[in-house]
Symmetry: C2
Amino acid sequence: MNQTIKLQLNHKSIRKFKTDAIPQEIIDTLVSVAQHTATSNYAQSYSIISVTDPIKKKRLAEIGCQPYIEDAAHIFIMIADQARNAAIVKEELEDTIIFSSFDKFFIAATDAILAAQNIIIAAESLGIGGVLLGSILNQIDQLNELFEIPKFAVPVLGIALGYPDQSPQAKPRLPKHLIHFENIYPKWENISLELSEYDKIVTDYYSARSTNKRIDTFAKMITNWSLNTYQGRIKMLEYIQSKDLIKY
Amino acid sequence: MNQTIKLQLNHKSIRKFKTDAIPQEIIDTLVSVAQHTATSNYAQSYSIISVTDPIKKKRLAEIGCQPYIEDAAHIFIMIADQARNAAIVKEELEDTIIFSSFDKFFIAATDAILAAQNIIIAAESLGIGGVLLGSILNQIDQLNELFEIPKFAVPVLGIALGYPDQSPQAKPRLPKHLIHFENIYPKWENISLELSEYDKIVTDYYSARSTNKRIDTFAKMITNWSLNTYQGRIKMLEYIQSKDLIKY
């Protein structure tokens, strides 16, 4: 146990922020941390857009259907980016079809997502709170237009940061034996039986909350989540293919 | 600046390990850290396999074409996992086609990759070194067979950990203005000009290395990397589709 691990075990998403700004020096440090994240084949196939324009922050909140996005002190958009690499290669080769494989897209997405987690940890170590924004993908065409994302590049995750103005409770996680296995993936037989203990914990968690009380089990929560996919998300594959990615 | 950020800025991939084992207590802590990573919609759509069987470690080294994998004290395989969720939902609904969207796969991959970065940071905070293994995807069919990965689940990244027996130099990263932008994605015009300063740094870095000396620029390195995709990786999309994922 040490400070870093204590921080990691205490992670909670923060969605309510004080009005204090994050000093530019800290933003620069967070970007440096992102840059020192592991990157596949040294290719650094990711980019980061800082959203500081209030109009674009407002549009992001609309795209994500999350009003709190507008109140974040700082927003990063993490981009799976083969566009810069393709621009570099273009000066050496004519053909950029090599960037159209699923593999190359996935390498870029992995780079961007690893860097996102590193940014969150660094921010939290400085007393900043934040939340990862999958919701920016809800209306991917509008997101694309807002930041003029080119061919071969795809936004994969947003990060909203600010000084916390709430102290949410930690959500109880699945029992370890349901997510961590040794040497082989298990068969899921009688999973509802396996889940029964956890479902009690989840039900207790939700009924004890001061806001957004509900009686729920993990199974019901997952079922509802599965069914209620935001319709804009269905366009993701088509969008990525329109970027000349995942062609094969 | 603090201990956590210092650690993050000092990250280097470690590929040579002492023979010391990692205590089980630490492995448990690393899994706890993974569990406390942010997860999309609370769905916890990832799983982790610990590879402790020496025969499987040897096979992994062959699959990844990286002999050092076998010498790692511990290996985690991170799995983008909608299989457990699908098993849960199956007891409530008949149809699991909802898990076949690109969006659901990508949520699972994001969960697994964020958790991987959290594991690496926690391990490094304890004096353990490691490297993320994209190479386990080089022969995805064999990887799948080795761990009996079911429908709706896809391994996305390995993590090799151990006590460091090397002190590699930090690889110089791209200049900040080439990866971090404000409010808009830039046009890549004259990128070779933009890169010229960095290319000198990269060339110096490679020529100063005690092992694996080579004279190289970033542009040449990216071009070679783009061209030399490991052939097994081309099967990734087909493989994922065979898992009933990314159907739409």
